[in-house]
């Protein structure tokens, strides 16, 4: 069965979400993944979005493009203010936070602000939005992104969203008492962070990917087991469901 990289990302990310938990999701792949999880193994997963909706059930074929539009609030149990949603995150209610990113470093820090100097950037990116807040407050932070060498860099131009911050207890030293980056899901591999060094390492490979390819697409040194695990391919059911969520392929590309 063939599938695209974005379908693979949504399916792989959905499998990381356990039933009964609360996930803070953005639009695009995160919302696809969270919605798919609810349709498969996690029917009691609660989806929260930063525009101000708790417990939304997005309508297949009518996914929101922004998290603060009506589509994002469909069948929600509460529509709090944006500030209140983030305060619930800071209070510790949200199990998972999903993040993407233009640039990611070995410690899972993310840049979505600027390429080049902050005062006079070479590329002005869209900015944090709620990404920095999700990274600071959610209990398990999952990064979902395409695996490209230009994204996975040793040093960021700017840290928008803190991951492990730096080696050892970098996150704790920065004052972030709670949460941590637990996983990085790409179309080539699943990665986590070595507790000793704080750096990203390969846990498992996506179907068809090999370690040499992963390292070639990573701009920093990436540790891995000699024989990393292999992630199961998306099932026909998962693919059918994720395609039905986004039939116009607004987010699936």
């Amino acid at each position: 069965m063939s599938y695209t990289a974005s379908e693979l990302l949504a399916v792989s990310a959905s499998r990381l979400l356990a039933d009964g938990k609360i996930v803070f999701a953005g639009v695009g792949t995160p919302l696809l993944a969270a919605s798919l999880a609810r349709l498969t193994h996690a029917p009691h997963l609660t989806i929260v979005v930063e525009g101000g909706a708790i417990g939304l059930e997005a309508e297949p074929g009518r996914l929101p493009i922004s998290t603060n539009e009506m589509r994002a609030g469909r069948r929600a149990v509460m529509l709090p203010s944006i500030t209140q949603i983030f305060l619930y995150a800071q209070r510790g209610y949200f199990d998972y936070g999903f993040l993407g990113g233009a640039q990611i470093d070995p410690y899972g820090n993310i840049n979505t602000s600027v390429i080049g100097p902050a005062e006079r950037p070479r590329v002005r990116l869209p900015g944090s939005g709620g990404a920095c807040d999700i990274a600071c407050h959610c209990r398990e932070i999952v990064i979902v992104t395409r695996h490209e060498r230009r994204r996975f860099v040793e040093r960021l131009d700017f840290v928008t969203s803190p991951g492990q911050v730096g080696a050892g207890d970098g996150r704790r030293r920065a004052g972030l008492l709670f949460g941590r980056v637990t996983a990085v899901v790409t179309d080539l591999a699943l990665m986590d962070f070595d507790p000793a060094t704080g750096r990203m390492r390969v846990v498992a490979l996506q179907p068809g990917a090999d370690l040499a390819q992963v390292r070639e697409q990573t701009g920093f040194e990436l540790a891995a087991a000699a024989e990393p695990d292999r992630l199961p391919a998306p099932s026909e059911q998962e693919l059918a469901l994720v395609r039905a969520l986004d039939p116009a392929r607004t987010f699936l590309g």
């Binding site: 009518r62 609030g73 590329v123 900015g127 920065a174």
Partner: protein
């Protein structure tokens, strides 16, 4: 950075009389409450409940040197940059949405040094308005710790005097003017919002001057019967403008969906032609139509009805 301290903000507020009087006025008159150099906070979020009529009126007044702040800045930021009304945006994110990518206009202005984009985290913006609404100089948070935003914004850190933990402090924001679109208000400015409140309760309480546009002006008795639904009290409000479809082509919860076809056409043209496309848009949709009616005629009744039907379906009001 806000230049108004919490003490000055309180003094300014105390200096104004706040009787429960009729504050209805024409959009053009309400927009004249915005002065050159003002910090203008924009209500709603991205393309939801944006006070588009009021923003068009401010642009028609050809104001200069405005500082615009908003939680997420949609393409209204582009209109203000290209028209020359503003060179200063305060926000957590700028763009329209994932399918449209980066804003070519914001990139050109910021990368070319012609505009400043002051980026805060989304919660930090919310807490800055909230501190303003509370009348205190700052609020503590764990947001932005470990982020370079701590270095590039006016945030500070402190050691908590109770626990010894590190905290990020964000300064209160007291906008000169808040522009907010609501579902209904009485002539005094008691206002109700359906659906997402976004950050509007806080910006209304934090701002020195508040201009409301309302889909519907209702009898004060209706407000009194449904006082539990009131989100903004009259004493925070200076002007009330009747504005059905006042957020269009952005959405208004339960009443009409955003006109994504219109937004998409705008975005495609701007991506291809840059600032020239924004100038053409300003001529056609902002400077051209002198009234709300003339603006809505550019879209036509069929389109407005389609967007309304869609909103009712989505919020379960017709099913």
């Amino acid at each position: 950075m806000a230049t108004v301290t919490f003490v000055e903000a309180r003094r300014r507020l105390e200096a104004k009389a706040r009787p429960m009087r009729d504050k209805r006025m024409a959009a053009a008159d309400a927009a004249s409450l915005v002065r050159d150099g003002d910090h203008v906070a924009i209500g709603g979020c991205l393309y939801s409940r944006t006070p588009m009529l009021l923003l068009r009126e401010v642009l028609r007044h050809r104001r200069r040197d405005l500082v615009l702040s908003r939680n997420l800045m949609c393409y209204e930021g582009e209109l203000f940059l290209v028209s020359g009304a503003s060179r200063d945006l305060v926000t957590s994110w700028v763009g329209i949405g994932l399918p449209w990518g980066l804003s070519r206009i914001v990139r050109e202005f910021v990368e070319g040094g012609r505009a400043r984009l002051e980026e805060w985290s989304h919660l930090a913006i919310g807490l800055r308005y909230h501190a303003g609404a509370m009348g205190v100089p700052f609020l503590p948070t764990l947001s932005m710790l470990g982020s370079d935003l701590l270095r590039t914004t006016g945030a500070r850190t402190m050691t908590c005097p109770f626990t010894g933990e590190q905290l990020c402090l964000v300064p209160a924001l007291f906008p000169d003017v808040a522009l907010i679109h609501v579902h209904r208000a009485d002539p005094f400015g008691n206002a109700q919002i359906d659906g997402y409140p976004h950050m509007d309760l806080d910006i209304a309480a934090a701002a020195q001057t508040v201009v409301l546009s309302a889909e519907e002006i209702v009898d004060p008795e209706q407000i009194r019967r449904t006082a539990d639904r009131t989100a903004i009290p009259f004493f925070a409000v200076d002007a009330v403008v009747e504005a059905p479809y006042g957020a269009y082509p952005h959405e208004c919860y339960g009443l009409y969906e955003a006109d994504l076809d219109h937004i998409d056409a705008y975005a495609r043209r701007v991506a291809a032609e840059g600032a020239a496309a924004v100038r053409a848009y300003l001529d056609e949709y902002v400077y051209g139509p002198a009234t709300l009616e003339a603006f809505l005629e550019l879209f036509g009744a069929g389109r407005l009805l389609r967007q309304s039907r869609s909103a009712r379906e989505l919020t379960g009001r017709w099913t």
